[in-house]
Amino acid sequence: MANPNIAFESGGNLPTNFARAMEKLGGFKTLLKVNQPAVVAISMPFPEPSPVTTSFALLEVTLKELKSLNLPKVQVCAVPDWGFEAKDVAQVLGIGDFVRQLGAEFISITRIAVSSAGSNVKYALFPLISNAPNYIALPTVRFDPFLGFIGASGVNLQFLRNARKWLSGNRGVCEKNPDELHEKFVDVILGSLSSRVPDLTIIDGSHILVGQGPLLLTGGQSYSDNFLLAGNNPLALDTYLAEILGFKKDATLLLQKITHGGFLDSEIQRNIGKISPNTSGISAIPPKANSNFTSHLPPRMTIGLGKTCVLCQRTLRFLTDFLCEIGEKDLTYLEEINFLAGIAPSLPPSFRNICLLGDCVINSTKKYEFHLIKQVKVTEKGKEKEPKKGKEKEPKKGKEKVSFKRNKTIIKIPGCPPSPLEVLRGLLRHFSGKNMPAISFWLQVWKGLQSKPSTALPKVWHGDEKK
């Protein structure tokens, strides 16, 4: 009987589940090329610190297994989210030290940048991973209210392709059909799998982030379940994981594409059916995020949406969740904010403190009336004569002078879509730190980790050597 493509194990502790899963897959040795170096790609999202998003326990088990194979070189690589400086993030999470402690080499990218012209290399880890004889992925599973859920496939993209492709939108596409961008995004994910599929992808069920908010800090909840999923097909793993966690097969666009696009061959489908999980071992289905932005916002904060792409919606979701969870105090100080996003949104209820999120809304609302404030001044005309007796005349009105003044309360945050940090910085610039103590504090705290934009080729950092 052929070995299954994916293996699901639950009930035991992590090392036991790992051993059982590898046994089902035919043994760790058979999955990898012996006497060849191996690259382990692990998610390092920040500001979600470990262990909610990065399974150190799984990394430990994997590295110990790799050590037992006596491979010539084992490298662990990680890329942070949000454009933070990888070296500092790795130090904060202690991931570099952790990897070296286990006898492997740690590599992270210091800057995300586009390479010079003429080169096909768009991401420094791309050549490393694409040329690696053994490529193991340890993805972080997170639920995103708009992009669906980011699992094995999404993490593979993160390591293989230019992040710009993922993160940037397109105004032309947004104007015609904003949903197209979502499809494009999913296509990029699927396309990344044609360039290099991990030889082995392992998912730790105790490190899944669910619920409202893309981050634990913004209302997400960590969902722990004692299971391990491993296999060599990221699409099959994502489909199966979604099934375990109570998603329908067409719940997200990625799942729809996988299911109906014929991306999974019948052999894999059959094997999934064979190793159907013992549902009694899985706790209740985790809560899923909703797409209602204003559910936790006070009524004086409004959101106006035009034709909005999924990326702008994602930023908006982050922003509102961040304000509700971290900036709870800041919200009490702010009189009102009217967020506008997308192409041609409707007019806000008030013209004060309008926040334009992204290039789309900035360009499409150039002629909107809220940019100028109408001022009417009545000029007085000389002293009024005393009315004669018997003739009561109405007092003469002064001449009305109409002038327009630029609305200084508009906050423009450029970007397509703007990065979450840019949005927070923009709000802080406008409202000042006194009015936003919590957000200003956290931005100050994260300041040291933020990388500066650079056009130079990214440097590869080999762990935080002892000073």
Partner: protein, 523 residues
């Protein structure tokens, strides 16, 4: 029979308390008699008793219409009913026959059987439905009798804080060992049992540490406000904790809150103490009641709710609590000057509603909201002895502390032996972390704390914040610098906010505390 006396312990204690006589179980009597125990002794000795009754009524279902079953050496021994039979409020205590349960092993006969028996028996005989049935071990009763015997006779005798803690600890141990049970079980005993098992007997440890704490040397008066009056106590600080003496009640609390400072000032002169602290007991009990109904494991939302309720008491100066002399932090002129310098410290504007979630955000950011933190607590360095270090683990799930456990001392010793010193913590912390990780695979952080840190930050700083004024800013800033000293406070891996706090100065940190934990507007 000793058992008879033990069974009527409440009545005996109350009587002897009233009569100012020492109580001795051995010669207090030979037979329990039916009689009235509705004693509310007036005068200064009644302080403890009134307080005990007030708290008992709130948490254990009052002191009437219940059955108390005594066990001795693991056997059912005697039973007493305390029933209100008339409308005049008299409570009759009667020794009941426990019949077939007499001298039967507690382990053999399930408590359910004896409870059902008494429920039926009392209802049938006295036409009264008992509110609850309590089963107490004679040893525990003896402890209470000894305590009250010791301090009942002499009105001037001070009760050491350590004795009260010891009494509480005994009771906690009895709850855990099943020597004190009540049916239906009150939420407080369920809560304390859970706290003891999941949070390493945290309450008792905190109380025990208070008994060892050196307080300010000036005596203070504590006025406990009840709906029907004030119970005054004198607290005399000593080198080993302190002593508490019940005092004679003075004037009633003024109904108008504006007259409260003057009233406290008069009480201070009357009682001849340096400071008077007055608090409304009911407000505190309400918070405790809210806490004890907390289901386990305690969630993040619940932690925050409890924190909000607790901090609201602190914020509510002048109503829930007040002192004389009043804290400098409430002085308008000093507050204005502080605000002029950019520091907004105002007790009444304390962000009680936001502070718990801000702290929980810190926790999430530091630990990822899940995992285990190993705390290595070092008491004052004396020849760098290894026994100065204690270890405990804090388990965090879904951004809430779900368990606290003391670590094996040998494990801490083994870490110490390998790490060699706790002086050079930043360099050795990594080593300690990876050593500890062998025992705790889910370990996320190692936290080094020192006794000096707690003294400076938790003890001294609270006092400093209450008496803050522009010139004291330097002193507070210096205290906050304790955070920067790795010997006092260090965390590995160094989280981003920890790095930031270490980087900034004391004044900037004071500014952040003022902005995050105090509301800006004077509305």
């Amino acid at each position: 029979m000793t058992g008879d006396i033990i069974g009527d312990y409440e009545k005996l204690i109350a009587q002897k308390w009233k009569e100012h006589l020492p109580l001795n179980v051995a010669n207090a009597g030979t037979k329990s008699e039916t009689g009235s125990s509705n004693i509310s002794p007036p005068g200064i000795q009644s302080g403890f008793l009134t307080l005990t009754r007030e708290v008992g009524a709130q948490f254990f279902g009052g002191s009437e219409n219940y059955v108390c079953i005594i066990t001795k050496d693991g056997k059912y021994y005697a039973a007493f009913s305390h029933l209100r039979k008339s409308s005049e409020g008299e409570i009759h205590s009667t020794r009941e026959d426990i019949r077939e349960f007499q001298d039967k092993d507690v382990k053999v006969i399930l408590p359910d059987n004896i409870i059902v028996y008494f429920l039926k028996f009392i209802e049938k005989t006295y036409k009264v439905k008992p509110n609850f049935i309590r089963i107490i071990d004679a040893e525990l009763i003896q402890g209470y009798v000894d305590f009250f015997s010791k301090y009942a006779g002499d009105s001037t005798q001070n009760v050491p804080l350590s004795s009260i803690v010891e009494l509480f600890s005994r009771w906690m141990v009895a709850i855990l060992a099943g020597k004190w049970t009540q049916y239906p079980e009150p939420p407080i005993s369920i809560f304390l049992r859970n706290i003891a098992s999941k949070y390493d007997n945290l309450f008792v440890k905190i109380l025990a540490s208070l008994t060892k704490k050196k307080f300010n040397q000036k005596p203070a008066a504590i006025l406990i406000e009840l709906p029907h009056g004030i119970i005054p106590f004198r607290f005399i600080p000593t080198r080993t904790g302190g002593k508490i003496t019940p005092l004679e009640q003075g004037k009633a609390r003024p109904t108008n809150w504006e007259d409260l400072p003057e009233f406290l000032h008069q009480e201070r002169s009357r009682l001849k103490v340096g400071r008077v602290i007055s608090f409304r007991l009911q407000d505190f009990l309400n918070v405790v009641k809210e806490v004890v109904i907390t289901p386990f494991p305690i969630t993040k939302t619940r932690w925050e709710a409890i924190g909000q309720r607790g901090l609201y008491l602190f914020k509510n100066y002048g109503e829930t609590w007040a002192t004389s002399p009043s804290p400098l932090a409430i002085n308008t002129l000093l507050r204005f000057l502080l605000r002029f310098l950019g520091y907004n410290y105002n007790i009444w504007k304390f962000s009680y509603w936001y502070a718990p979630s801000a702290i929980s955000n810190f926790l999430v950011e530091a630990t990822g909201g899940a995992g285990t933190i190993l705390c290595l607590y070092r008491s004052r360095i004396k020849k760098a002895k290894v026994n100065n270090v204690q270890g405990f683990t804090i388990q965090i799930e879904n951004a809430a502390i779900t368990r606290i456990e003391a670590t094996d001392p040998q494990f801490v010793t083994s870490i110490y032996e390998k790490v060699k010193t706790f002086y050079s913590i930043p360099w050795k912390a990594k080593e300690a972390f990876y050593l500890a990780r062998q025992n705790y695979p889910n370990l996320t952080n190692v936290l080094f704390l020192s006794e000096e840190f707690f003294e400076q930050l938790c003890g001294k700083l609270l006092g400093l914040f209450l008496s803050i004024h522009p010139l004291k800013l330097f002193s507070v800033s210096r205290s906050l610098k304790q955070l920067k000293d790795p010997r006092n406070f260090y965390m590995y891996p160094e989280t981003v906010e920890f790095q930031y706090i270490r980087k900034i100065g004391g004044f900037k940190l004071l500014g952040w505390i003022s902005r995050l934990f105090f509301d800006r507007h004077e509305f």
